[in-house]
Structures are given as C-alpha cells and as structure tokens.
Amino acid sequence: MDLNHLDLTVDQIIITARPGQNILEACLSAQQDIPYFCWHPALGSVGACRQCAVKVFSGPEDQTGQIVMACMTPVTPGMRLSIADPAVAQFRDRVIEFVLTNHPHDCPVCEVGGECHLQDMTALVKHDERRYRFTKRTHLNQNLGPFIRHEMNRCIGCYRCARFYRDYAGGRDFGVFGSNRNIYFGRAESGTLESEFAGNLVEVCPTGVFVDKPFSARFRRKWDMRATPSICPHCAVGCNITVQEREGEFRRVTNRYNETLNGYFLCDRGRFGTGFLESDARLRGAKRRQDGNTTVAIELAEARADLAARLNHDGVIGIGSPRASLEANFALRAVVGADHFYAGVSDQDAAVLDTAIRLMRDHAMPIASLADTENADAALILGDDPSDIAPRLALSLRQLGQRATTETLAARQIPAWNDTPARLAAEGHRTPLMIATPMATRLDDCAAISRHLTPNAIIALAFALAHRLDDTAPGVASDDPVLAGQIAGLLCHAASPVIVVGGNTCGSALLLGAANLVIALRRAGSAARLLIMLPEVNSVGLGLLAAKPLSAALAAMTAGTAKRVIVLENDLHRRAEVEALEWAFATVDSLCVLDHIETPTTGAADLAIGVGSFADSDCTFVNLEGRAQRGFKAIFSPAEPPQSWQVLRDAGLDAGRIASGSWHNHAALIEAITIAIPSLAGCTQVWPDAPYDDMQRPATLPHRYSGRTAVNADRNVREPKPFANPDSPLGTTMEGAVLRADSALVPYFWSPGWNSAQAVNKYQSSIGGQLASGGAGILLFGGSAGHTGYFPMPPLVPPSDQTVFLPVTRVFGSEELSALSPAVAARMSAPSVSLNPQEAARLALTAGDRVDCTIGTTVVSRVVSIEAGLANGIAGLTIGFPGEAGLNLPGVGDIHAVSGDPS
C-alpha cells in the first residue's frame, strides 16, 4: 500500500490525497471546488464560518451520511463523501444567506469588487435571492494609517484578519471586539496599524473590509490592469510580486505566490514601497550641465551621443550598484572594462558581501530558503534584526518561533493545519528560536533565548558555539558559557537548524563564525543550513561581478587616474562621507549618472540620463540565497524610459568599446553574462526564452481588459499600434496563449469562478505546495558541503573609550526607493539614536532630546530614544533615511546635546 497517497471518493469521482490533509485541502488540490471563508492555506483551519460543509458517508451501505466541515476533518483511506448532495448544498446555501444578511449594497463602490472571494463563493454556492428584509447592522470605520482603509460594514466575521494579524504576524494593536452580530475587527482606537505586515490584510480579507489605500486613490478593477511578474526591489529577499499597470501608470503591487520565498505574504515595504515609481523624485528625460550650476534638458539621442563621446577617452571608470539589475551592472562592467568597474558600496558592506559570496560560492555552504527557515526545527539569529533588514524573513522566523515542535504535535496527534489546538500545544513547547543581537528585535517575544550583546561578544559567541560542538573548530572563550551551553544544547537537539546571520552591525567576522557553527553542526550529523542577510536586492549579483568597493573608486578619482566616471543607479552620497565624495567629484573631468530617481548624485552630475526602473526593464536579480530571479518590463507607455543596459550598449557601440553586434537582445546579453562570469551560468534557465510566435506568449493583459478603443481617443480617435516587448516571453496585448496552470509562464493568477487572490489554489500542485508551473528562480550555488575547513577567528575591534555607533536600519525609511513612496514616507519615524538608560543618564539625555552625533568628520542630528537592551558604550544610529549622507558605521564618535532646543 502506498503510504503517501490515499484515495477518496467525491461524488463518484476518485481523487488522491496525502495522509494528514483535511478534506478541504484534498478536494481543492483535486480541483473539486468547495466554498470556504475562514480557512486559509497559510493560517490553517478553525471551522468558524461553517461554509465548507460536505457530507461524509460511514461506509458503502450508508445512504444518509453526516454533514461535517471539510476544513476540520482529516482524510481517511477509502473515505466516501459528497459535495453535491442536496442536503449539504442547502446547508451551504443557508450559511451564505446568513453571511450576507448584513453585507452592504456596496459592490460597485468597493475596491475588491471583481476580485472578491465573497462574490466568488456566492456564485459558487449559486445563492441568488435575498430574503432578509430587516435592517442591516452598521459599524463606524477607523483610520488605520496610510496603507489600509477600513470599511467595517462589509465584514462577514470570518476572523481571518485577526488570526493573521495577531496569531500569524504577531501584531498586538488589532483585534476583535464585541460579540455575536456586533462583532468588530479593529484597533482599540483609531490609529496607524503598527505591524509591518498589515498590508496582507487586503489579500487575507475575503471581502472589502481592508482596502489598499494608495491603490484606491488611483483605482482600477483587476481585469483592467496589465499584470506582470516581477521581483520586489526593496530588500535582498527578492519576494515575487505582480506589478499592475494601466495607461502607463503604476497602480499596485500584489503578492505572487512562491513556495520557497514569500508564500502568501509580503511586507508593507514591498507592497507599498513601489509607489516611488509615480513620485516626483523620478528622473525623466536627460539633462546636461551647461556651465556652473545650470542644467538643460536634452533629447535622449543626444544624451546617448554625449555618453559615447565621454566614453571615447582613457581613464573612464564605472561605478555599479546593488539596486541595479545584473544586466545593467554587467553592461557597465563590459563597457568600462572589468578593471575599471567598482561596486559602489561602502567598505563595510563590500567586506560583508565578499565574505558572503566566498561562503556561498567557494565554500558551497548549504543555504536555507525562507521556506526552509520556516520549517526548520531550530533557528539562531546572529547580529541583525531581520524585521528591519528582510521583513519577510522575520515573518518566516516568527512562524518557527510560534509553532509547537513537531514532536509535540505528533505526540498529541494534532495535525498542523488544526490551528487552535496546534497553537495551544505550542505553549511551553515552542520550536526554539534563539537571538543574539546588539539591540532588541521584534522577534524577541517569540524567542526561546534572546540576548543583547556587544558585537565582539556575539562574534565570540558564534566561534565559541562552533568550538563547543567540535573541538577541532578554532576556539575562543565565550563571555557567557551558560548562554553558549543553552544555545548549543538546543541546536544539537535539532535535525535541521538554520543559522541566520547579518553583518551590518558585527561585520564579516560574524559571518565566518556562523559558517563555523554550520560546519560544526553538519559534522555532528545535522542538516544545518546558513542564511546570510544582505542589504539590497541585487547585492549578491553585484558581488559576483567581483568589483572593488567605492573607496577604491574615490581613491582613483582623487589620484587622477579616473578622469571620467559613469555612475549606474546609485546615490553615492548614501555610501561615502560627503567630504571625500565631493573632493573626488571636484577632481574628475566628467560625471555621468544613469538613474531612475533624482538623487544628490544626479544633481552633481554633468550628464544625468533618466533610465528605466525595475518595472520598466527586463531585469535579473540575485537574492540572498543566491537565487537568480527575473522580473519583466511591467509598465508600457509611449514616453517610456530606455533600459540602462540598452543605453550603455548603444554608447559602448558608438565609442567602439564593445564589439559591434553585441547584445542585440536580452537573451544575447544574458548569454554574454554567463560566458564572462561562469558562476552566473544558471541565469539562462531562469525563465524560458521568448517564443518566436507572438500567439504562444501568455498575455499580460487580462481577457476582459476594457477601453482599448477609447483610452487614447481624446488625443487621437485612431487606435495606436499595441506595445511590444520582443525580449519578453510574455505577450504585451490581450492576445496570446490561454492561462494554464501547467504552463511555465503564468503572468497572473486567475481561473474561471476564482477572481480573487485565492485563484492561486488552481495553480499549485497541491494546496500550499509548489506552483505547477515551477518558475521559482534558479539557485546559483549548489550548497552541499560540510567538508570545508573551519575559518580562523579574525582579530576583533579593540574596545574604545568613545561611544560605538552601530547602524540601525528601519523597515520604513532606511531603504532608498521605498522611502520615496508617499505612503511609506507617511509611515517613517524620525531618525533616532538609541541608548540604554544608564548611558542616557550618564550623558544627561532623555527620550526625545535632540543630539548631534559626531562620527569621523561627519555630524548628524538625531532624536534620542531609550532602549533597555543595549550594552553600555553602544549607541544605535538609524541610517539611510532620505537626504542623509553616508556614514562609516560601525564607528566610534561622540554624542552632544543640542543646547537650547529641548524639542
């Protein structure tokens, strides 16, 4: 007997299920539709809404059967059940009739209309007549901040929002009030939702209670927007997103399911940060400095010729960027020459990135995906708080920290999908999540061990743990043997632990310590894996191009060997100290900047060319696991900006710097990349090549896309030629291959009768499993080893008498692009410096005081915040906020109160 499969009979049809599934999952996996509301594949079952009723028969002779909730009933071998049975069909009809008694007459003015799970389920049940003739209950709405609008009248009381926000995402400021018919989901009082995952309420809510506020202001129905698969550009996780566009204007970002990375959820920075595309800060067109401080707008062709002329000299260097695509960075590298290409990141970032690349590529460290992290049986976070650097990773780690151990669930015979008992079982038996960071993290509440130590102590701890597990690992004495013993004990007990490490505050030494720990654990027989938190979307891709850091470029500029500089999609003011940068800019003959936003660097440029953002380009990014993923050109308009690599190619061809005929299309460029950099060979398989025949390309415009003959009619009644993108395997019109679940290319999830985000059920091999189409990106590094040698412990930074400033990134504000989105800008807090209470008392400071922090030659102004967990002598300094200059952090310096300004 096959233990991994069992057969069920559903209305005379035999379907195959996996043991441990519930009936609802099994039926939906087998394309047998059962309506549901409260169940969600990631949130599990609670059996609250009573909508998924089916009839189960006890044996072949049983003709009566009994009604059960499909989401709460595990499948058993040979089970016979009915969805279509008249009694159970009537039961479901009555349930949805009750659900709809209070639902308002709002669909035409509801943003969710047309992609509403409630509409879909009503149609599935075939409920079409309203018999209720009494008054509807109403609710007052709350202002939930810049991301979410609240329309409580529409609530059907399924509890999904509260379960997601409180139980899944760990939020505390949102919940359920009242009882019975008066039930109210909201905050204790009006105010911004604190969780950085609040945006998921839009997709979690089966109807329109929570609405995407920025999208509502530029609203379109789902069927009216071009939907293109893309990669979120706001952190190194590289979550899969769908970018939706109409009339050349960005409209919104929705989650695109990827079982190994983001699953069903995105963070708010990803969901609302992409609003930068429509901000005033976009650099459009090209401009050239005339004389002194005046710039004039020039045509793109002229800008290209100008760029070519500037390339036609010696001493040209290029500075790449971790937020630019692999294509753009490689094009610049090829045009200026590999020796003259610099990475455009600070020394600290470059050192961390270099170590990360060595560990992943050269030492083939086994790397965990986000799904691996979520499903691991222990995790240790070292160095940085993932909540602010890679928020989606923090959500995965939270699931681990909140979940009961597998043994506990097995011992009590609780299936993992049975949400309430599984959550109760977790009390006292949680999967161990351990944290050692300099500052408090937002995961501390679900951690088994959470300690806030100095960077040196964290590095020592990592090496000490490795030594404790394996005597041959280089040893150091841990400052806290008890803590090391506890952590080592929990890690040893786990079969597949994950070590999550970040080098922002502790530097590359900590990465080596974490690698030693993974090697030691693997030698002890566990399937331990590593995950390195890196700062930006294409950090790894840039790292693989093996370029020298920005300081080397500035040195070459100051020394006079670099006369002409081309900066690619990078604001150097964020990455270097102002003084050094301005001195270098003043020495060079010409500074050209290609970017899609206006920055201080484009302001200083002699020639600034507005190029396409990630949404205007076909672009490949390599995420923190070394997963190459491709996003496609999502926004089409007559005045669209050129793609960076095309500008560089054209200029390079004119200047004779690349062979004629190079990179005639995107596929040729990718091929050139894989030839030049063998470790990027996997990039060719990320997506299939563009088919020759247009009709084989799946259409990115939905089949009910409206207004084609009227949209441009105010300018010209004759319809323009449709847009084309020959580089993309996706079609740009309404015509093309039919959406199919098994197709390798699925631009968006929709299925007949399933208009909401839940249509993804139809595209998965089984519920919550992988997409039938695949397409989850290509891992560039096949991590396998445990046989690599240990790394020696690097010398630690000696303690200093002055205050040590550690960089603190904030989920809203520290990332350059998202900070330009008006919604995210409204959510940013003031840049702050955090101190522990003793340190604050020593400096006679209280929370809210304004201070100047001097680091090296730079002075920055901050507001004091008091944080109990910090070590003495350490201050956390927020970095990366808009308009702020680069700082060499970690670094030492002083804090001075700004006198006369108590505010």
């Binding site: 035409p108 209950r137 009248n153 009242g178 009882s179 008066n182 509502s216 207004g707 003959t709 009619a713």
Partner: protein, 172 residues
C-alpha cells in the same frame, strides 16, 4: 404551375396599389421612437441632482467594442469619475452598458442623429454625456442605499440600516 404562380405574384403586387404608404419623409417628418430605443448614450443625475456614475467600471468591462474609458477620482468615499469618455465611432449601441450599470447612470436615449464629418468629433467626454435629469429612472439614488458614507449620509443612515454598533457594549 408556373402560370398560376406568376399570376398570383402579379395580383399581389397589384394589391399594393391600395396599401398604406410606409415611406417616411425624414428629416422633415420624424419617426416615433420608443423610450427604450437604444440611441445616443447619456450620463444621468440622481434625484438630488448629483452625478449618478460611481465609476465602478462595469460599463467599460461589458462593452463588446471597448469604447468606454473612465477613471475614478482619488476621493475615498464618494466615487465619481475623473473622466468618462465614449468613442461613439466605435459604439454599436448594444445597450449592454445600460444593463450593467448598477446605479442607472448610463442610459441609452431615443436619439440617433449623431453624424459627423470628422471622426474625432464622435469622442464624447463627461461634459458632453452628462444631462441634467434622471432619465428613464426617476427615483433611484445609489448612495442612499449603499453602506458607505457619502455627502451628508453617515453610517446607519442608508435605507434599511441600523444605527452603528458600539463594539464596547456588553449586550449580545
């Protein structure tokens, strides 16, 4: 056989001499058009004189020739179109838009005299489409029925609505 059928035909043709004349002297003489005739499209107002269109996009979605284009304003509560455009050079006067309209805003009226020498002049914007009255549906006012707040209408003031719930109340 041939002879009988020929004679019958001649006879029937002859009888037409005594039938009523069907020719209409258009344009001097206007034909009768029923109120439900599907001619030029207008946007009507509700009984309070406000625009009825709530910018729900259903007319655009149902239009088989895709000749309707509109965009909702950024106003969160009361939805209205920022622009509303019909390209009458594409319109086939099928009336699907009128059927789809949940607020009776878009209506087809008995007027077919829309000939133009320049095709561009057949593109009608909202100011060309909007009329002063309620058209064929005199009473319906969508926002008085819907659950959202709009104009002076607060929560609980729409048709068949109870006063807003106090979520902190202890009574079930």
């Amino acid at each position: 056989m041939f002879i009988t059928s020929a004679i019958r035909t001649l006879w029937l043709t002859f009888l037409h001499l005594f039938h009523k004349t069907e020719t209409v002297q258009y344009p001097e003489q206007k034909p009768y058009l029923a109120p439900r005739y599907r001619g030029r499209i207008v946007l009507t107002r509700d009984p309070d004189g406000e625009e009825r269109c709530v910018s729900c996009y259903l007319c655009a979605a149902v239009c088989p020739v895709d000749c309707i284009s509109l965009q909702k304003t950024s106003e969160p509560d009361k939805w209205t179109p920022e622009h509303f455009r019909i390209n009458f050079s594409r319109c086939i006067f099928c009336g699907f838009c009128e059927e789809a309209c949940p607020t009776s805003a878009i209506q087809l009226i008995p007027d077919f005299e829309m000939s133009e020498f320049v095709r561009q002049n057949l593109v009608y914007e909202k100011e060309n489409l909007l009329i002063a009255g309620t058209g064929k549906v005199p009473d319906y006012n969508f926002y008085r029925v819907a659950g959202v707040t709009a104009f002076d209408k607060e929560k609980g003031m729409a048709l068949n609505e109870a006063a807003p719930v106090d979520p902190r109340g202890l009574m079930p």
